[in-house]
């Protein structure tokens, strides 16, 4: 059998990789976060605007990555900003990836414990997932991407099926009036709607692994367009099915939507169970992405062997997952992660690009 030795991914694998990294626990809680900030049914507009902003951000990150073929952000930040400042920026990014990995695995455990396996201890869910993740990540980006290619169609199919069946609850009046309070609420919700794209920072390393980096713009925009479309669909169906008042008070609004009806005579009467089970796989993919990114970062910054870093990360991720004491803490952490992602965006792609432009100009002038 043909085994790749260069550990590169094709463009379609890159699309799925980005999609599965962004699309995680957010889809279960996102309608609440945005609606709470806005208090109007216009959340779908906010998602539209937020998505456009994120696409611009991704464009910038890809362009930056394309300047350094085959190099990840952990390597080229040192080239652009110097060894120490670049290393510090990389460490920030690594810390961010670790906390997102912990957050994803914790959300996974919370959903499982509340709806599926009441009575199972938290560690009995978290630890097997971390080990399974470590096994997958040890295979490198190619094996991760191939697992994603298997998981992605299944989860999307079940999600779309659940939404299609939930159409019986859909009431267009729940989404009206459009812009009843004008534009200010849309702007207020914008922050929350950009937060749901947290994780798109992987673009900074992903471009380096692409077999054909020249297709990176298309692939990365495609990879973000899928979560963008699904987020739009989610808010429309969840708010349209439950109304904003119910969404605002629900801990997991998307699951509550699916729990709000029974399909008598269907092969599964209650779609929340298939949805939750496949969504666990999705959150697992999510987690693996960040696990991979943070381990990769550490090994590249400190020039350590990747397998050793990976094993060392296992307890760190476990601790990161167990830090929040309550569900409220978990949601709080989710918000913090979103804010961190904004700060990191200002620090890394924007600042690095500026410095890079200045240095390039300088070199041309002197050269």
């Amino acid at each position: 059998m043909f085994v790749r030795t260069d550990d590169k991914i094709t463009s379609s694998q890159a699309v799925v990789f980005l999609t599965n990294t962004v699309l995680g626990a957010g889809i279960l809680t996102m309608p609440r976060g945005i609606t709470q900030a806005m208090k109007t049914p216009d959340s779908w507009l906010t998602i539209l605007v937020g998505g456009m902003v994120v696409m611009l951000v991704i464009l910038l990150m890809v362009k930056l990555g394309q300047q350094f073929p085959g190099k990840t952000v952990f390597q080229y930040s040192a080239i652009i900003a110097g060894r120490i400042p670049g290393g510090l920026l990389s460490l920030l990014l690594i810390g961010y990836f670790i906390s997102v990995a912990g957050f994803e695995i914790r959300s996974l455990a919370e959903v499982t414990l509340f709806f599926l396996l009441e009575g199972t201890p938290m560690w009995a869910i978290v630890i097997p997932f971390i080990w399974a993740g470590a096994y997958l990540v040890s295979g490198g980006i190619n094996s991760i991407a191939r697992v994603y290619q298997i998981v992605f169609p299944i989860t999307i199919f079940v999600l779309l099926l659940s939404f299609a069946v939930s159409f019986r609850l859909f009431d267009i009046d729940n989404l009206r009036p459009v812009l009843g309070s004008g534009l200010p609420p849309v702007m207020k919700g914008l922050k929350s709607s950009i937060l749901v794209y947290a994780g798109c920072e992987v673009v900074l390393t992903l471009v380096a692994f692409m077999q054909y980096p020249q297709q990176a713009v298309k692939a990365m925009l495609g990879g973000i367009a899928i979560p963008f479309g699904l987020y739009l669909l989610t808010v429309v169906f969840v708010v349209g099915g439950l109304s904003i008042d119910s969404v605002m008070t629900s801990a997991w609004p998307t699951i509550d939507l699916i729990r709000s009806f029974e399909v008598t005579g269907f092969f599964v009467e209650r779609l929340e169970f298939p949805l939750m089970v496949v969504w666990l796989m999705q959150m697992f993919c999510n987690f693996c992405s960040f696990f991979f990114q943070s381990s990769l970062g550490l090994s590249q910054v400190f020039k350590l062997p990747f397998p050793a870093v990976l094993l060392g990360m296992v307890p760190v991720i476990y601790l990161a997952a167990m830090v929040p004491k309550s569900l409220e803490d978990v949601f709080g952490l989710g918000d913090e992660i979103g804010k961190m992602s904004l700060v990191l965006f200002m620090l890394i792609p924007v600042m690095l690009s500026l410095v890079w432009l200045v240095r390039k100009k300088g070199r041309i002038a002197h050269g």
Binding site: P177, G180, D245, R259, S260
Partner: protein
Amino acid sequence: MVSRIRAALLCLCLTLPLSGCWSSKEIENLAVYAGLALDTGQPAPVEKDLEAQGAEYVKQNKVMATVQIIPIKAMGSKDKDQKAAQHPYLNVSGSGDSILEIFRQFSIRLDRPIIGHHLKVIVISSELLKRQTMDQLMDFLLRDNDIRPSTMVFLSHGQAREALESSQPNDVPAFHIRDMRLNQGRTSKVLEPVTLSRIDALSHADKSFVLQNIVTGGGELAFSGAGIIKGASGHWIGTLGQEDTECLAWLAKSGKSGVIKAYDEDNEPLTYEIKSVRSKVRSAVDGDRISFRVSLSFEGRIIETWSKRRMPTSDTHAEKLAAIIEERVSAMMQTLLHKLQSDYKTDVAGFGQKLSIQHPSAWKKAKDDWDDVFSRSKIDLDCDVTITDFGSFVEK
């Protein structure tokens, strides 16, 4: 060698999932309840006997909860016990102040733990809703992770626990009530059931709404009208009759079926079967004055008449009969609107939502005391009845 040891170790790990789910519970060891009735607090008959022997704990008896357990044991095997064969369900009542605490008290009386995954129907007595608010009663039911938000909620005129009793053998009242919705195609007196998730949204928004009302008698039950829950207080304030209820369903677009019966000039019954209903509510704002224009148009056929006169199936005659039906349906709608605006001063027909969509700024000003504003608004009614045919009957 190393890789072989590693493979063997990995294989050993595979034995771990063989043990199955960590927290699995066999369904035979659980008492699944399909119905829940909430009544005003008073010790249930069995409880009185138990309490007489000192089976007590600290409580104020604010509510009595009855769960309808579907015994799996009795279902499959043919029991010699006649009683068990008659009733495929078991009702257990207990009273106290907290619904969860009452549920846990059941655990010192039953042989299996009760589980709410398959709760289908909740019946609340109107009397209880006079004393407690909807929010208080629904709090636990919405928080719990077993009970699904798809559970349907009903009101009962008398005691709610009686709605969960049936004299028919092999009839589980909870399933009976759940399946009643199948009749919606025949009459709009059967409302679309209100689920827990709807109640959550409605009471969070302080909106008033109606719940189907159940009356019982002779071991049978009937859906009769609907009880009004006032959004501002969360209490039950009154009941709409059967005809008001179907008018409400037609108006709010949730029902499109039923019959309209009127009396012709000889006072003989004339029955019109509805094929479709179209309803349109337009709001108008003039300064602080809010008014609505309701247009209802019915399409259907004359399906029964006791008239001794000739019944030509001509268009001119159809128009004459349509006028009789129109007058009747207008009167029914007027009665409903009068009840909502003057008797109960409550908007349960979605006028507020129409206003919020059509005139968002006016709604914002009025929404805090909407029921009050609604009761003072002018509502114009416009009914239109079309007769498409006279059934399989032609006469010149």
